[in-house]
Symmetry: D3
Subunit: 323 residues, 6 copies
């Protein structure tokens, strides 16, 4: 079997490869028989497929999270790729059946992300911000480096939360260096914590859903509550100015009340945090979409960009300074 991934096959090419079942919805066809609507995934992306006339046994076997050997043909359905399934079976214990092998990963290793983020913590000079950040980074360590940043849209992959944070820290560093008016420590502290509440809001890196706390409270308030609790543990007064500033950065980082922030930004660093959050999220989202768009074509309409579609320029206009 070749080492090709699911997105390496051309339309109408036969394929045979191991993939992860990301989703498996059972439905009734109009003839009354059951079928499974699959989403298969490996690290090259996700593709959907229909499995007709599924037996009860097959339905119970082909569950999300399982690795399967998929044989079939890559097709196109109304402009979107799909797989025509010819044969499907579970991977055996002697085959590559570890689901984590098929999950999309952040493009930077866990160790590198951790080291670069820790490096930035050293640059947080204010002792209260520094201690709070370290306390919460420690407390939520495992989930923080494993969780995606979202169910779908931007950074929806394992490690996506840390990668989004890291990417924003790089932007934050460039901006803080360019403009003397910005308090770098405050901006770094806010950046590291701003989305950490997603470790409570979301259920984890696979089959990601919203928790009850996520639905009823939301990640913005969830991490704010943890900051206040961290203050109690660290015997820092939660009402002193620097702590209020940090909480304000977290609470205001969606920028607009309509986007779920209970307050709008009222300090400079809060406004900047909001804008670099948007900038990184937009570039990451468009980067993923354009990767799957043909040169010279428009993409599908993108929900997270107000339903706009984006044009991918022709190959001969590519930036020659980039590899």
């Amino acid at each position: 079997m070749s080492s090709k991934k699911i997105y390496d096959y051309q339309v109408n090419e036969d394929l045979a490869l191991f993939v992860l079942i990301k989703a498996a919805d059972v439905r009734s066809a109009k003839n009354g028989k059951k079928f499974i609507s699959f989403t298969f995934a490996d690290r090259s992306g996700e593709i959907s497929a229909k499995f007709w006339n599924a037996s009860e046994h097959e339905i119970s076997e082909f569950q999300p999270g399982k690795v399967v050997l998929l044989k079939g043909k890559r097709e196109n359905y109304q402009g979107n790729p799909q797989i025509k399934i010819l044969h499907l079976r579970l991977a055996t214990e002697f085959e590559p059946n570890d689901s984590s092998l098929y999950l999309r990963q952040a493009p930077v290793s866990f160790e590198k992300m951790e080291s670069e983020i820790n490096q930035t913590v050293f640059e947080i000079i204010n002792p209260n911000w520094n201690r709070i950040v370290r306390y919460l980074l420690n407390k939520n360590h495992a989930a923080f480096f494993k969780y995606p940043a979202a169910k779908k849209n931007h950074h929806a992959f394992a490690g996506g939360l840390a990668y989004h944070t890291l990417s924003m820290l790089r932007l934050a560093r460039a901006v803080a260096k360019q403009y003397p008016v910005i308090n770098a420590s405050l901006l770094y502290a806010g950046t590291i914590l701003h989305d950490m509440g997603k470790t409570i809001e979301l259920s984890g890196p696979t089959a990601t859903t919203y928790t009850l706390a996520g639905n009823l409270i939301g990640h913005i308030v969830l991490i704010d509550e943890q900051i206040v609790e961290a203050c109690h543990q660290l015997r820092i007064s939660e009402n002193q100015e620097d702590v209020l500033l940090l909480r304000h950065l977290i609470l205001a980082h969606h920028g607009l009340l309509e986007y779920g922030s209970p307050v709008r930004p009222h300090i400079l660093e809060a406004e900047v945090l909001h804008q670099i959050d948007q900038l990184d999220a937009s570039i990451q989202m468009l980067s993923g979409v354009l990767h799957h768009t043909e040169p010279g074509q428009f993409s599908e309409k993108i929900f997270g960009m107000d339903g706009r579609n984006f044009f991918r320029p022709s190959e001969d206009l590519k930036d020659p300074s980039k590899k």
Copy 2:
């Protein structure tokens, strides 16, 4: 001196009475001389007045919070009442110079409010909700019964916060009784706590301003943080369903994200809490405005009611069932 209050005088009537200086802004007239723009208050309401050619001594003497003997004439300026000052001096120690005598008060006594609210706490059957409410009512006791519910608009008087809460509890009781689907304990607990964060958001009952925490965090999140802290003190898990429901009621009570709630209501009692909050606030606000509007006339435009003006019907259409 008669016992008339400031709103008892007719236009063009001479007056002499003790009043509280609520605000005293020093400005420069076009002739270069200083004048003080006063807001005088007693329990009948507030009226503005200008004090021309103020000396430095007078400016330092006539500070907000002082009680003064005011002699002058009640006039009308562009449809609004004002006082023409003929004479002004501080009240002496032998005169009624206690500022609290001139502050508008809730129409129900502190003792009665406390007793009726405590009575409702008994009806909160769920033990976690009951303990959290009692803990926070105890912790914020003094401020809760003394603070206004707002800087201006509705319930902007001493005790206004408790009075607004009490008034909503009465509505909550009627609604919970009428609709079996409503969980009364949850609705009562949410009602008592929903605005308690204003004891941190606002500076106090006189010369009320927003604190830094009020401006940067807001009363909704401030009390939510206290609920989480109360859970820690009371060894209640902050993530169990009943605690999430209660926090959700508080966080969602402004109804819309645009009004500063970080989540919209997603349980029935949260929706009801939001609506009875609006209902009580509207009636209280209109009640105050119509009290100062002539029968058969429209009021000024009311900022808190989207800039609408309201008509006060003629006296002969008054509800004969009300005294």
Copy 3:
């Protein structure tokens, strides 16, 4: 045959019972054959089902309004209940074939609703309001107690219009009692009339549609026109203040121009009428939705609540003070 209703069956349970055909849309399957998409109903609720390969005879027989004996199995399709039809035939003359037995009803009897509403009319002290209300209640009597309050969403059942009115009168009574500033007579008169135009706007209790007058004029203006006509009949001047106030309550009761009121509320009782209308409609709508939601789960998204879904708390958090 058991006395179970359609919503009493579990998923995958076989069923056999009499139900009403609420809707029967004939469509073409992809194989070119016709099928009927049914909505079956009894007093426990409504469930959809597909009837494959329908003959012309069956299409002509299974019309909305007919009672049928349905044999099949309760299934689940993409989270929504549906019925797999195994056998279907019309009810005979010796079976319970009266369609009214299967229509959802207001939870209060017609007699009780009429008596309680009449009781309130006695409390309308202003003679003009009293006479107008009695005139129109009399004129529209039959339809008023039989019609639903809407095509779908809240109070979409036989008698729903009167039940919604009654429920609001109970709220109106509680509110009028609590706040002395409210004119109870005006609020009661406005409440009784506010939705009476729906007797012209809608076609009736079964297979409810909008009439041409409903589509081109709307229920708000339709009942306002009747008030003016009532004045002519009763020789009350339509331009005197009390009549203007009552018409204003009706015209303004949707609260916002965007919701179809030609004027926004400009008297206190109009604002209150609008708000208790919303409160009753919301609770009634959520009550129905949560009834069909599993404890511990979120409901479907509800169109009439801005597309929000609502969480039904676990059973062990139920209000113990309610049966």
Copy 4:
């Protein structure tokens, strides 16, 4: 005394002429003395002026509606014209003291407007529409030809209502002729009636204010009620299709719910009526504003045009085909 009108004088030119007092607001200056803020008018337009140190006698004498002899100088105050008053006295009985001589008038005579509108009534072929229009034109005859179409903005002059109606009828004729799909009778009937409710909404041609019915009901519903009443008088069923269509035209003519129509246009003629209403109002409003703007300059911001200012092109670009 010259026959110059108030807008014929240059800045800094001395003036002496008879004018009408359109408004006279008494205020207190900062020195405590009273002054009158006048709006003077003649048929060339309106200009404001301040009358300092007004005595009680002068205040009682210089009332709105009086004609006065004004001597002073035309000045400019922050870009707006104003008059510096040097002398002011009431016109005597031997001088031109009839207020109607100073009111702006529609540019077409009453007789011509009446004749042209009546001519159009003949072209309304549907007998019900024809009879309703004639009935209401007759009933509201005096006010219809005397009232302005608004308090300010477009057509705010005596006869403005009839003139606006006439101007729209001319547009309606051109449009109906160009597009065969339009029912001319319906469009003419709707045009004649669409704003007739302003004869109840407004108080009259001088010192125009909103009546209580105008504030609480609004001109759209007020004329709709009269159409229904006309049907009763003329024994036309109010619920037959042609009457519903006509009422729909009136109710929908503001186009959007936000602009106070209780329904949006749902028939072609209703949409056209709305659009030609807007077209005539815009041209009339801009026509008035540009008349007082210097060539080559932008006008003030115009409230009725969403706050936009408009540019008046240079004189040498004038349309040479117009005189």
Copy 5:
């Protein structure tokens, strides 16, 4: 074969006629086989149809732009007309296979449109406007008289762009004649040019799509750029007032920024141009929709009219003055 057109057949009537393939989307059915979703057209309108089990040969043969002989039956599917295909083959060379015979056409001939537009150019008195209009009319002559005015909605037929322009010129003439304040030359010049950029924005009269320039620049800016270029060619300064006025008319003609105009109208003629554009587009769009709606029924919801549906009155209410 009869000369009936596709919209002349009744539901369930057998049909056999030549039609144009307007669109042909190939899809996979749930059984895995391919089918073609056709849109057939002739001058009576467009109807969709499904062609099941399409072979690769048939897919390659039945391309958009081809004329076919269609045999089948007219049916109704969920309220919309559709064709059940019984037989389909390409038209031979001896049959009427010219696609232009089946395209909807403007109701006025090309020659008549050209002559009437040219006539209006003579009435543009300002020499710069006149020369620019003639230059661009000449430059874009072929496309201008052949293109539709839109992909769908109003004027989506061959010659639609010129017909829309002509229709607006007729309105412009009526309006300019009625209101002396309007500069007719400017309004005519703006009208002729306002949508000419669509000859670059759209791909042509058949199988109309947006070009890359259309998607990235838009027709408003595309024609503005051509005006500036025309000035260079004609040695007219692009910055003199009259040229700025004309460019402003074009740029502002969508009326609102939200509709894609980079500036809002700030001269009278720009406002008028915007409004008559809307008026003609609305009437044309509704005219088409109502033509396919049964008398006494509501149409489908119309996307281009904010999703409103429109009522077509009964036949006996038709305007008797129109044939």
Copy 6:
């Protein structure tokens, strides 16, 4: 005379210094006398002052653009600084009377800005983008380095346009380096040209107003037209893909139609250009406002930031890594 600037004086401190008259509005006081409302400026900022009882000679002498010797006292008026004028005279020819000495300047020298921008032009690899940028930079050279970026708000100082461009280029470089997907050449070209139309839209660096072209066309379209013209001069086809992309960047850079872009961003670099424009403008605007706000206080409400006020943290929280 000391070398103190106008913002170096404390409240109530006497001052004597040369300043520039930035604005001088003549108004009438309530006593009928004229006064001049001045805005004085030097490089520390702008302060207003009133000059009472101005003679005609003084009015003609004290024109905007003149340098004057100002003696007076710095005061505070309703929270804003103002000057009480004691003496005022024009600067003589022997005194520092060159107005450019008093204009705020970009914090980077003209030479340094020019060199850094030219350096970036070298990095634009695509030859068409490179040639167009160089052509237009050359054509508009003088104005580009002298003009402000706005009348008020951000970068409203001499050289502000080039400084804003330079500052964005620095951000663009950081972003392009961090994300491989970005075409750096395109982003740099778009950044340099995006606001260059302001050299036509605005009148110049002193007494900045909008030109007629600025008001009627706007800077976005004005520079787009120049790009097309540059193509003609350089014999580059205006319709090839790379030119369309560059024009799209310019046209879309306001991000939303509501902000005046005729198209929204539909390529990645256009979205990024829009976001870094916003980021630089926000930081620059806040930087200026916070500079004049006391530590520990909130600023005035800032129009360009949706009316939000911003908090300046206490001095002891300053970033210790910045000087």
